[in-house]
């Protein structure tokens, strides 16, 4: 405990240097913009900014990229409330009551409560991170290749189960991501795979191209396909003096914020798109706890405060599996893993000991970042809302220009731009055909780790697959995988039985 506190104090020393403070503020501002602007979510936003961090030391780079991640969560709520258009998926639920509040002239308190809730959740979440990460890292030291393999498989299954509408479609996307991840040189034998003697493919597919393509270009193309008149939008911009919530608002929201924080933190630790699940879970909890559940969907402030706190808290705790196990459970943290690797840092149980300045510096910067976001969000909401007044037919070409430029700067390669466009077109088709992109991206980033764990496990066991079930931790993860795989089947059987009963009764 004392060690963690000492680490955190040192982390504040690292995070409060002029350089790191600057990158923290930059990350928070860019993140808010990314969250506000349609067509750019946190994933494409982080991916685009990775090249800009090449000249920085790893700590400053991750401080800025992490700032974009949680900044986007703040920004995403602005469009939900003012436009009924979520800036990113974690803000979908905020639309329900946030937009209704805006329609009743209460956009200001809704936006303010988002910022206050996110700040409180972010602060509590950081303390959770500080006290939970070191013991978990110690526990993870016993993890060998079989445990890592089973954990990653478990992660894919949970993510596939909770994203989109079809488990099998999400699973297929995960396998496609794993296949794409095998392109390039085999790290064990040094032989080329699926590169067809094409030098550009020898190094593998650039994950930044896949991320920007699927999540950035794909979203822009989906917007372009809409009729031109749909690209215009009317935005309500609240005035500064309308922003302050009443004492009654604060009183109603406090419980929701604290419950949302707890839910978010817990959900962030398990595989899956944590912020999205956390917001849904928090909304449902608030509706259940409320004395006036009929107000939900019509502008209940708890329906905004709870989910917004939950998504911020989930963002913080999602850093635990990334830093402690080196395994991200969702695409934004997968992109951060890619960024860490680019900067020569391999996250895992040893990271706290090997890179204490990075680990504690990033955690401390999150606290500072949350404070900056609170300061930034309240007075500058009218400014961010005004950005939304830029018509989409101007904004979308701008996003494309940034995507193309950003993509080129990763490796100074036009081939990467082609790849990005290819994945952009693929992302568009996947959207049309209801295939989820998240499992594909996560699988692409984790693919090489999964393959290494698979091959090493079998090497240890002399080819015996029993190693995956013979070790208790690995067995628990695989059991969890089987349970998650059987949920859709059980649901199907239950529905069948129910409809049969219904038919019998009506007969």
């Amino acid at each position: 405990m004392m060690e963690s506190l000492q680490g955190l104090i040192n982390g504040f020393g690292v995070a409060t240097t002029i350089q790191n403070l600057f990158y923290c503020v930059m990350g928070a501002i860019v993140g808010t913009l990314v969250g506000v602007l349609p067509g750019l979510g946190p994933i494409a936003g982080i991916a685009l900014l990775i090249p800009a961090t090449f000249g920085l030391n790893p700590t400053s780079a991750i401080i800025m990229l992490a700032g974009i991640y949680y900044g986007a969560m703040y920004g995403g709520s602005t469009t939900s409330i003012l436009l009924n258009v979520p800036g990113e998926t974690a803000s979908v639920i905020t639309c329900l009551d946030g937009y209704q509040m805006a329609q009743k002239g209460r956009a200001g308190p809704a936006l303010a409560m988002c910022a206050i809730g996110s700040f409180i959740a972010g602060t509590i979440g950081i303390f959770g991170l500080v006290f939970l990460a070191p013991p978990l890292a110690e526990a993870a030291l016993v993890f060998g290749p079989p445990e890592y393999f089973s954990l990653m498989v478990f992660g894919f299954i949970v993510l596939s189960n909770v994203t989109g509408t079809s488990l099998i479609k999400s699973l297929m996307m995960a396998v496609v991501g794993l296949i794409i991840g095998t392109i390039g040189i085999d790290p064990v034998t040094g032989d080329a795979r699926f590169s067809f003697d094409f030098p550009y493919l020898m190094g593998g597919i650039e994950f930044v191209a896949v991320a920007i393509g699927l999540f950035g270009i794909g979203e822009v193309l989906a917007n372009v396909e809409k009729p031109l008149e749909m690209l215009g939008q009317r935005v309500l911009v609240p005035r500064l003096r309308e922003l302050y919530p009443t004492l009654q608002d604060l009183k109603r929201s406090l419980g929701a914020i604290l419950r949302g924080t707890g839910i978010g933190f817990g959900v962030g630790l398990i595989p899956g798109p944590a912020p999205v699940i956390a917001t849904y879970a928090s909304y449902m909890t608030e509706k259940k706890f409320s004395k006036t559940p009929e107000e939900f969907g019509k502008g209940a402030i708890e329906g905004v405060a709870g989910p917004e706190s939950a998504n911020n808290s989930a963002c913080q705790s999602a850093f635990i599996p990334l830093f402690v196990l080196g395994i991200p459970f969702a695409p934004p943290t997968a992109i951060l893993l890619g960024a860490l690797l680019i900067h020569g840092v391999t996250p895992g149980p040893m990271m706290i000991g090997e890179h204490p300045e990075l680990f504690w510096g990033v955690i401390a910067s999150m606290y500072i970042g949350n404070f900056i976001l609170l300061l930034l969000n309240l007075p500058f909401i009218p400014f961010f809302a005004n950005i939304l007044r830029i018509p989409k037919n101007i904004l979308l070409p701008l996003v494309i220009l940034f995507c193309i430029t950003g993509m080129y700067t990763v490796n100074n390669s036009v081939f990467d731009i082609w790849m990005m466009l290819l994945f952009g077109a693929l992302g568009f088709i996947m959207r049309k055909w209801a295939y989820e992109a998240a499992p594909l991206l996560l699988a692409l980033v984790l693919g090489p780790k999964l393959e290494a764990a698979f091959r090493q496990s079998l090497m240890i066991s002399h080819g015996d697959f029993g190693i995956f079930v013979g070790r208790p931790v690995s067995f628990v993860f695989l059991l969890g995988t089987v349970i998650f795989l059987s949920i859709p089947l059980l649901r199907f059987v239950w529905r069948k039985a129910q409809s049969k009963k219904h038919l019998e009764r009506s007969a």
């Binding site: 396998v175 009729p227 070409p397 090497m459 080819g463």
Partner: protein
């Protein structure tokens, strides 16, 4: 919708088959000492199984009857805009090195703004000029990122 699902399933089935066939041309090894092709082979086979199950489930639902009517409403899209938009991006990529960043960013903005309905040329060109200049100063001037100069040489 059902046609899209079948096409998607078939594409993934073919992708799985191609992956498996190409993997077989690499050393497979044994489970004890896996070769280069082992992991992709497993993935290819797994994808074929999953897409096979997916296609089968669609066909089974179809056999049972037409089922529920399509509930998803689609916005009447504009495929031409999409094709032109993609074409403009592809052309910009093709001439990225040859024409250089400042010129290509300007031309790309002009084209994309025009496709998305900015019909007045003065506004279009002014916006494109401002954007191209700003992005040039941001990336080349401030971030010092070497971008292709092309034949205009800046």
């Amino acid at each position: 919708m059902e046609r899209d699902e079948i096409i998607g399933g078939i594409i993934l089935l073919i992708l799985g088959l191609i992956t498996a066939l190409l993997s077989l041309q690499m050393p497979i090894g044994t489970f004890r000492a896996a070769g280069t092709g082992m992991f992709p082979l497993i993935l290819g086979v797994f994808l074929m199984i999953l897409s096979g199950v997916f296609l089968l489930s669609i066909l089974l639902v179809r056999k049972k009857g037409p089922g529920k009517k399509e509930s998803q409403t689609r916005t009447p899209g504009s495929p031409w805009n999409l094709i032109l938009f993609l074409g403009a991006m592809a052309l910009a990529t093709l001439f990225f090195n040859r024409l250089g960043y400042p010129l290509i960013s300007f031309l790309l903005m002009v084209a994309l703004l025009r496709i998305l309905g900015t019909k007045r040329w003065t506004i279009n060109i002014l916006l494109s000029l401002v954007t191209a200049t700003a992005s040039y100063f941001l990336f080349v001037g401030w971030l010092k990122i070497p971008l292709p100069k092309g034949w205009i040489g800046i």
